[in-house]
Subunit: 83 residues, 2 copies
């Protein structure tokens, strides 16, 4: 078993309204910043032990499917690094 | 001016309690997943135009300082990619 950190990034699918990101973007513009777009995402960093990186990524993907992401409105991506 | 996407990752400093992450970890364990630790972070993807990548990173860093992160409890990191 090797120690890995799997990072799961959960973001809204294109087309799903994100009022929090819009509010953040407007607040930045009101502070004088120039930007074209802002998107927000949730990032989960999960420490786990697995036989290899593929097994770690598969388990993190299952966690996303079961709990971390809502497949109706979210896309997610998984990356794995040695710890 | 070149089009960049700056990614600002905002996470709690070590030692700051994160009850949301703890709850998520316990929920995953209740579903039968094995993991050692889970940390959550906010990720902001900001599309902007700047003279070069350094200028884009500097502006995104100011956004983090002024609005996206609370320096008392958060660390942040900025990465920049061409768009």
């Amino acid at each position: 078993m090797t120690a890995y950190t799997a990072t799961v990034t959960v973001r809204l699918k294109r087309g799903v309204l994100d009022p929090e990101a819009e509010t953040t973007q407007r607040a930045l513009e009101r502070l004088g910043f120039e930007l074209e777009d802002l998107r927000s995402a949730d990032r989960f960093e999960i420490d786990l032990e697995a036989d290899d990186a593929d097994a770690a990524a598969e388990r993190a993907g299952e966690m996303a499917e079961r709990l971390l992401a809502n497949p109706t409105i979210h896309d997610y991506e998984v990356t794995v690094a040695d710890r």
